[in-house]
Symmetry: D2
Subunit: 159 residues, 4 copies
């Protein structure tokens, strides 16, 4: 299978990757040499960088920020994260990063992310993201079109 | 104050750093240019590397592993971590990484870590560490002299 | 154009990428958020990691090392490198890493690498690679099948 | 010896570190776990980050830029670098990064840097740095007080 790199995968491509229930955003990538530690496994911290790459892609894709103009775009801050490293990864493995929003409040939301490779989940991450005013002076309410995305694409069922 | 770099700080040095209640292991360091993100703040992932540096120092200091011989030393695996990013950090800030074990079971233990700078806590990390046999074949019980360290130095009160 | 990620590109795919004269090994990738510096440009050091990723792929592809068994495979050491940063790169840019060997001696060889994006060369790297015995005890002659690759695929014209 | 971390070392401290002829700027640091590669050596790229850390310290120290206001401070660009990796480094080694300017033209200058550990030089780096206008629109002449520093502190003997 040829996997398009860092481009959102279709549900069919996700299933071919071993993701039984496709997510709204799935990006594939491959382990690099620089991510290996002295035990020849992927370093624990590398997963956090993968999750970050996918979150930024999500934020741009959804329209929260284009990371282009700090004077008008919200400042996106991660307040808290929980990570489970479930199964080690090794050199050259292909993997997919799954990302979606699962809940929100007026100025913050919770994201879930997973790393899947070879049909098994290798790591999961959950984090709380806060939107601040561009100058950092206070919270910024989540715009309605973003809330719509949370509901319609990511399947968030609240309020 | 001249702070000895990456060398365990004395209780007095910790207090001078703004750590009101000194921890059993405290290491100081400074933000580097490569750790800054496009907003000129320390990148979220950099904190995880700082915590890792301090954990490895702890493991060597306590005698869990010298990271010298993979055929006889336990394989140290982090299963789960929780991080709170509390206050942003910037270029050239000095900080201290605080590390201790707070609980254990027969083959795993829980560590707490904090980043303190300018008298305020910037981030906290809690993780569960598991010891495996050198070949990864199964769990390895925590040696008694390590348990003694948990009790006598880190102040773990169990069982 | 859908570009296969970190998979050797065909000559036709390279031309579509703006590489007028295709190289024997071309790998495509994309700038990540973590590679940006406070000026929102790709950090100088990130290019070195890209070149490293491509070199390791080259070494595995050609059969110099599979990075699987340190007791029998040659130790690959870079002795000297020259880099020119020609034009800055920014978030989300696609690029291709071009890699080939251009000269060799009995136990070392010279590699050339380039980063091309949007039809222009962004950085070039040239380095001298030495093969050592697995235990680091001395130089290792380049095996004949590797020399054949240098000649037949990379187009090295010596001896 | 207690070495002050990332603080310019005195000539006496440099000699204690094995630097026979002290340099105008010397900063000490220590290898971290995250800088090790699968062979348990310091990764080639880590040296480039060390050199970068010292260059930024130099630029701030000398007054070329405080990295505080992009609208008025010169944009500092590295055009070309040459690195020699001379002797491998391992976990926990202390080292010193030596930095000075050795030549200049009206809008650019050449820096030399070295990594010394245990009395031996482990890597050397030479690079050409260009000053651009804050908006990147063109070259910026090196201010006279910077040229004075090149002559009086770094010992540049030209023009």
């Amino acid at each position: 299978m040829t996997v398009p790199y860092l481009t959102p995968l279709t549900p069919e491509q996700q299933r071919a990757f071993g993701v039984a229930e496709p997510w709204p955003l799935a990006l594939s990538d491959r382990v690099r040499f620089s991510e290996l530690d002295p035990l020849n496994h992927v370093n624990n911290v590398a997963y956090l960088i993968w999750f970050e790459t996918a979150r930024v892609t999500y934020f741009k894709h959804v329209g929260i920020s284009r990371y282009a103009d700090k004077t008008v775009e919200p400042r996106i801050v991660i307040r808290r994260g929980e990570i489970d490293w479930l199964q080690e990864m090794r050199a050259d493995e292909d993997y997919v990063i799954l990302t979606k929003v699962v809940a929100y409040r007026s100025t913050s939301f919770t994201m879930k992310q997973e790393i899947v490779s070879g049909g098994t989940t290798r790591a999961t991450f959950s984090c709380v993201v806060v939107l601040l005013q561009p100058d950092g002076s206070g919270r910024m309410p989540i715009p309605q079109h973003i809330l719509d995305h949370f509901h319609e694409v990511d399947g968030v069922s609240q309020p």
